[in-house]
Each structure stands twice: as C-alpha cells, then as structure tokens.
Symmetry: C2
Amino acid sequence: MELLQQKIREQGIIKEGNILKVDMFLNHQMDVQLFYEMGKEWARLFKDKEITKILTIEASGIGIACCAALSFDNIPVVFAKKSQGANMDSNVYSVKVDSFTKKKTFDVAVAKKYLLPEDKVLIIDDFLANGCAVRGMMKLIKLAGAELVGVGIAIEKGFQEGGRELREEGIQVESLAIVESMNAATNEIVFR
Amino acid sequence: MELLQQKIREQGIIKEGNILKVDMFLNHQMDVQLFYEMGKEWARLFKDKEITKILTIEASGIGIACCAALSFDNIPVVFAKKSQGANMDSNVYSVKVDSFTKKKTFDVAVAKKYLLPEDKVLIIDDFLANGCAVRGMMKLIKLAGAELVGVGIAIEKGFQEGGRELREEGIQVESLAIVESMNAATNEIVFR
C-alpha cells in the first residue's frame, strides 16, 4: 500500500538491531485517517470472506483495528487483554505470548462470550515479525472453535520468519507494507 | 446521547458495588459504528475549539478515541502508555494514576515529542468516575505546557465526584451518558 510505505519512508526511524520506530503515526501517536485507508484496503483484500469479527491485541493493535473495522459490514472488534499472571478465570480463553521487543512472556485473554464457534475471524495487528502475537491470537481462535479467515498486518518485517511460515500454512496474510531490508546507518528501507 | 444510553440499557450489566459492565460493546468487544457516532457528537460539542490532538489512555480509551478522531479535522490521537515502574526515560512525561477498578497505582507516560506546548488537547476516555485517569492525563498536558480544551467521556458515573469537580474548575466535560443511579438487583438504570 503506497500511502503506508510513503509514511514509513518519511517518518519511520531505523535503529540498530532491525528496529523500525513508527510511533510517530502507528503505535503511540496515531494517524487515524491512514488507519481508515488501511481498513478500506483490507476490506477489499478480504472481500466475500463473510468476516463476523476482528480480533486484535492490546495495546497498539486496537486503534488500527477499530478504524479499519469501519470499512467492514458492521462487525465488532475484540481485543485480547494482557494480564499479569496465569488467568484462572473460567470465563476467558487465555494463552501465553512471547514478546520479541519486550523480551518477556505475558498472558493474553479473551472473554469466551466474545469469541464464538460460529465466528469467522480476521486478525489485525500493527507488526508481524516472528509472528508470536498472531500465533497467540490464532490459539485463542482455536480454543473458541472459531474460524480464522486471515491476517491483516500494517508492517511486516519480511526478513523475519513469521509471515512466510503463516503463508506456508495456507493462511491469507495481507501485510500492507513488507520491509525486505533496512539500514540503520543510511536510514534506507527497501519494500518487497 | 440517546444511542449510547439505549445500548447501555440493552447490554449493560449492573453489579454490586456500583459496577457497570459494558464490555459487550465498549471496552473489550467494541462497537465501532457506535464509537464513530460518538465522535460525531463530540465534534459537534467541541466545534470551533481548534483542537490539534486527542489524548487518551491505554487500553480501553484507544478504540473510542481513534474512531472519534475521524470526525475531527485530520488530527492525531496519542495514547498514554502504562508502564511497570517509575519511568526514568528523559524523553517522556510520566505521571502516576490510581486505578479505582483495579485498586492499584500505575505509571503512564507520553513521549515529549507527541505532546507540544502549542497543542490544544481534547481528552477522550471510556469512563469517568472519580476522575483519576483524566487527572493523570491533565498532568501530562500540563507537563507539556499544552492547553486542555475539554474532556469527552463515554459513560460518566454521575454519583461519583470526578465529573462535578472537573466542571467546577471550569473544564468543559461532555459525557455522552451520565448514570445518575443504578440498581444491581433490578438491573434498572437512571440517566441524568
């Protein structure tokens, strides 16, 4: 998606260790008009999939998922909540997710009543790198007996394994910008 | 706002201890079309205020603020991030916020570059009860030397002090539903 790539080129900051900082418009300060356009693109890419629900994860996926959902046919967004310890609440599905950036493991949970066996679920998130967050959400969908329809990602780090592995499993992954390589010294970035 | 009050009447669950559960449409599963309508109402109520930025707080304010921002004139949303301990990062403004529901204190922070002295800021959040979250965000705005234009709230608990105190200080607080009283035994709710 040209608009997103342009925004990354203009405002993204590349740091050593393959870190791409986009908190100017994506995950701290948020460009909601951009999110709305991203939603239109996902709605086009997942047309005719009869999606009933969008699932995202706290916190930086929420804004994107909510603005995006406005371009779908009146479906709700549910966000997986981060919790401190193991969740013993019998009313929720809970899984463990490893965070690459934060280098720790946390529990995320969704109330059972908001993820149903008849749901056809689109996962939306801001980043896809090694795929841990998406895998966590996929486990929640599986626990609910719901169907995963696809995955919508803002920025995929194409040089990490997450996206390739998901696609090899036959999952429709639509990343609106796929970073092939980036150079912290020159601030150059190459998109797939 | 009739639409929101109707939704609370239909789907809200009142629990002992003055707890109103609205996670069916507001803060776990999210009705984004409702959020969009709420944004149109806030845009009307804060017309001519020349707002440059919307500030909200992780996590349940984010979806509402982002959908709402689409009805304003191309302004970004910034969310205050919850952090584990005292934040020593010199690039952020950080304050402590007491959580009424979670009965604990946490730190919230905003990057200095996303809250500027020239900003005219509208705070948006899902609930207003004793006002701790709003007070925290007001402190962040003050630390930045920015101007608070007003506060947009989805549901205010009118029987707690937060809203009254803010209005007495001359702050424009626009709560789209103000709960005057509620009864857990009968599930009855009275709006102001």
